[in-house]
């Protein structure tokens, strides 16, 4: 993140590598604002060879405001740096929640709630990672783009931690490999982790330079992880139809629908998916060019409301399970 905050918008190539890395979750174009060349799609060959190296969109007032630095303890810090750190903190919480159990090697806490704390944490980080592009598209602001990589890396850390703990502490038969792949939902989770590993190792400027134009395509594996996570959650809780032992909640819960992780994830994903569709992006860009951004917001509001609706339950789950894990009294829901 420190690197990201030092980037300059005006320097094309340098800034591209300073800022662009977006690696993680990086399948998204870095320039979500109005497309150059009008609403008519330009011929493919007319496009820049790599989206990563395209000139930046114009700075918004907010971007400029964020670039201003202030004095703090004898040194000067950009507002953006503070904002990025603050916004990045939630991504650390899943690992932070598991820290006491790790330090005390509390296998009971790991067995009881690591999958929920780190698993839900990884889901939360992936959603935040995927949220960056739609937000940039809607607001035209870019100062928060570096968070995409940060959330992606923390998603990988949480996911790998979840898999590692599950491989050691789960009570499924078949040794470590059996514990990781013995059930359909664990197999899908294992596949996600296998995809996350190369992604996280290439989420740096050096790998971006080495992979060149293939880097962006490679980072699109994030979308595969996104789809696999949907499958994982679907299989985890009876295809979204079961409650109780094989589904969400327990007898007497009364809220099996809201507690279905697959539904929560789907509610969030609709907003993230729709705002990535090229026709929708074209429509939004056209309205923004016309100066009718309010229409975009009105059109997107229900999707965003649904996104928030789903995310609230995911955050609730993470905090509920995470605090239980932190106090080493794991919840076993």
């Amino acid at each position: 993140m420190a690197r990201s905050t030092s980037g300059r918008w005006a320097n094309e190539q340098v800034a591209a590598y300073e800022y662009q890395p977006t690696p993680y979750g990086g399948p998204d174009t870095y320039q979500p604002g109005p497309r150059r060349g009008g609403a008519i799609p330009a011929p493919r060959q007319a496009k820049a060879p790599a989206d990563d190296l395209q000139p930046k969109a114009a700075k918004t007032r907010m971007d400029e405001w964020m670039e201003v630095d202030f004095k703090f303890g004898g040194s000067r810090i950009k507002r953006k740096a503070v904002a990025l750190v603050l916004l990045g903190i939630p991504a650390v919480l899943p690992l932070f929640f598991m820290l006491p159990a790790l330090i005390t090697l509390n296998s009971n806490t790991f067995a009881g709630s690591v999958d929920d704390t780190l698993g839900t944490g990884a889901e939360f980080c992936l959603i935040l990672c995927l949220l960056i592009t739609p937000l940039a598209l809607l607001t035209g602001q870019h100062w928060f783009i570096p968070l995409r990589r940060w959330y992606g890396i923390m998603m990988a850390a949480s996911g790998i931690g979840d898999a590692a703990a599950a491989g050691v502490t789960d009570n499924f038969a078949g040794g470590v490999f059996g514990r990781l792949t013995g059930h359909t939902f664990t197999l899908v989770g294992f596949m996600m982790v296998m995809l996350v590993v190369p992604l996280v190792f290439t989420s740096n400027p050096w790998a971006q330079r080495k992979l060149g134009r293939y880097w962006k395509r490679f980072q699109r594996l994030t979308y595969a992880i996104w789809a696999l996570l949907a499958c994982h959650l679907m299989l985890l809780e009876g295809f979204g139809f079961e409650s109780g032992t094989n589904g969400s909640g327990f007898a007497g819960d009364g809220d099996p629908v809201f507690h279905q992780r697959f539904y929560q994830f789907s509610a969030c994903s609709l907003f993230l998916l729709v705002l990535r569709l090229p026709p929708v992006k074209r429509w939004i860009a056209a309205r923004q060019r016309e100066g009718r951004n309010w229409l975009v917001w009105v059109a997107v509001l229900p999707l965003f409301a649904l996104f928030v609706f789903g995310l609230i339950f995911i955050i609730n789950e993470e905090l509920f399970k995470g605090i239980d894990s932190f106090t080493e009294h794991p919840s076993a829901e």
């Binding site: 729709v274 929708v280 229900p302 649904l306």
Partner: protein, 224 residues
């Protein structure tokens, strides 16, 4: 011509508009349905608990609920062996109270120990923060290990706990009396406690019947 339209007049953004309209409408319907569903959460929770036989005061979100039947079974698991032991001790005392001071005292000491053990077992099921933490851990271990939730995790509801507290107090008084009786130095002194012991036992019996009633169990057969 608006930038939205291509050279042939075709609206280039029509598809995006349609997609956005459909998805936003769907999202709006889902949000409204979600809010309506959320408004009924309390009622659904009560109905679901009733359907599952859960004790509302013992419900902990995210954990398997404790049912009235589980509470009753847990009480019986404590009371049945304790009653059997107590019957044996009381029978031994009845045999020896007029002839063998040492044996009668031994029977009374065993009886006092049985009464104390019953109180301790009952105390472990009371609705207290410490017991709740222990029960919570038991439930979580069982669910995370995929094993059956142990019966001992079924604590008493606050209502049953209030009765159980009175039962424990009455039984403590009886146990103290039994212990005092066991310190007798003669058979006459030993038998002089009998009436007070019967009164103490009647007090315990009254509380036992109350707790059994609260747990939906038939009245206990009186101990001799």
């Amino acid at each position: 011509m608006s930038a939205t339209y291509a050279a042939d007049g075709r609206d280039d953004t029509a598809a995006g508009k349609v997609i956005l309209m459909i998805s936003s409408s769907l999202a709006a319907v889902l949000v409204i349905a979600g809010l309506i569903y959320a408004a009924g959460t309390g009622q659904r929770h009560v109905a679901a608990m009733a359907a599952a036989g859960c004790v509302p005061s013992l419900f902990i979100s995210g954990l398997p609920c404790t049912t009235g039947q589980m509470m009753a079974n847990e009480y019986l698991a404590i009371a049945t062996p304790a009653n059997q032991q107590l019957s044996t001790d009381m029978a031994a005392y009845a045999v020896n109270e007029k002839s063998d001071l040492a044996a009668a005292k031994a029977a009374l000491t065993a009886e006092a120990a049985s009464e104390q053990a019953f109180d301790a077992s009952l105390s472990a099921q009371l609705f207290t923060p410490q017991n709740m933490a222990t029960a919570d851990a038991m439930i979580q271990n069982a669910t995370s290990n995929g094993t059956t939730v142990p019966l001992a995790s079924a604590l008493f509801s606050p209502q049953v706990t209030a009765i159980a507290n009175r039962l424990i107090q009455a039984n403590q008084a009886r146990a103290a009396l039994t212990a005092e009786q066991a310190r007798s130095t003669s058979l006459t002194q030993l038998q002089s406690f009998n009436h007070r012991a019967e009164v103490a036992s009647a007090a315990v019996g009254a509380e036992v019947n109350l707790i059994r009633k609260a747990l939906g169990l038939p009245p206990a057969a009186p101990l001799n």
